[in-house]
Amino acid sequence: MRYSASTTAGATGATGSLRAFARVYRYFLLIILLDTVILILRPLTGKEVFRHTYSNFIEMLSICPPIFLLLGLLDVWVPRETIIRYLGEDSGVLGAGLSILLGAAAAGPLYGAFPIAAVMMKKGAKFSNILIFIGAWSTLKVPMFLFEASALGARFAVTRWIVSLTGIVFMTLIIDRIVTKEEKAAIYHRHGEGCQT
């Protein structure tokens, strides 16, 4: 029997959802088990471990609700298809700015950006805009920025955001110049549509 996380959990009843829970949280449960062993063998150290873990959870979970709320609202209210149209060959500075906004409004790990970049290439977005989008997604994401500012301080987060933005523009210019027209065409060819360099 296989339980693929939460999707099948409801249908398979209490034991199934328990098993699904144990599966998804196996690493977490393993560590808590280890913590418990420490608590039994060395009560003082064990208490310290649980105290640290508890305060970690409280601190970070208190910031989660508004961030995930924003993330959901962004996802629903910012339509992707219409924006893709504004990122084409003649989009200029506006297209670059829009690529930054698109990437920054996103959520999720960097590899989540690759499929979206592929769709953008297929629909005719400019190569440099794709690079800017990937860069923005990797490190300028607004929900991440909010989290970073709350954990490491606004000074740290704001400085890193501005420096990264500058860096992304420069790196895009460098890559866009080094990669030849033929190479770009080959990359676009992978994703279906004709060449847009």
Binding site: I31, P65, P66, L69, G72, L73, L110, Y111, M171
Partner: protein
């Protein structure tokens, strides 16, 4: 204070969204909740690891490995850690904060955060499938080098 502002903004937007379109607002809530429950297992694991490891990692040890005084060598350590590990920012920030509290240097932590986000050693094969070898190699190498520049600047500004 920052957290409170965030709560006020997001709740305000939620109300505005609800007034405009109930179905969309419900979809947004579901998406947010799903994103949260997707990240929670990893999130919980790392928070637990951090709680466990930090109990045994004294400030002296942290400062010795990646403190302000370790300079470029300490940054090399954190940059490699950042480039090869694949942990989401949500999870990395609490870890980074704990390390900072325990004597890690700002530049050392900055290069860790930056490489973590921009360089993806583990996902290189995936990236090649989308962008080919050359673009992937260029992007990751440039991002790795850039992380040091960013860290030096952050190290100068913060403190």
């Amino acid at each position: 204070m920052f957290t409170r502002a965030l709560y006020i903004i997001s709740i305000g937007l939620l109300i505005a969204s609800f007034g405009k379109d109930r179905a969309k607002t419900r979809a947004a809530l579901v998406k947010g909740l799903r994103a949260f429950s997707n990240i929670l297992p990893d999130f919980a694991t790392v928070l637990a690891i951090v709680g466990l490891v930090l109990t045994f990692l004294s400030p002296d040890i942290v400062a010795g490995l990646i403190g302000q005084k370790t300079g470029i060598l300490g940054m090399l350590v954190t940059s490699i850690a950042g480039a090869i590990t694949l942990i989401p920012g949500f999870v990395a920030f609490p870890l980074a904060k704990s390390l900072l509290d325990r004597g890690a240097g700002v530049a050392q932590i900055a290069v860790f955060i930056s490489t973590l986000m921009m360089v993806g050693f583990v996902t290189v094969p995936l990236e090649i499938r989308y962008f080919g070898r050359r673009v992937t190699f260029l992007r990751n190498t440039l991002a790795y080098l850039f992380s040091f520049i960013a860290a030096f600047i952050i190290g100068m500004v913060v403190l």
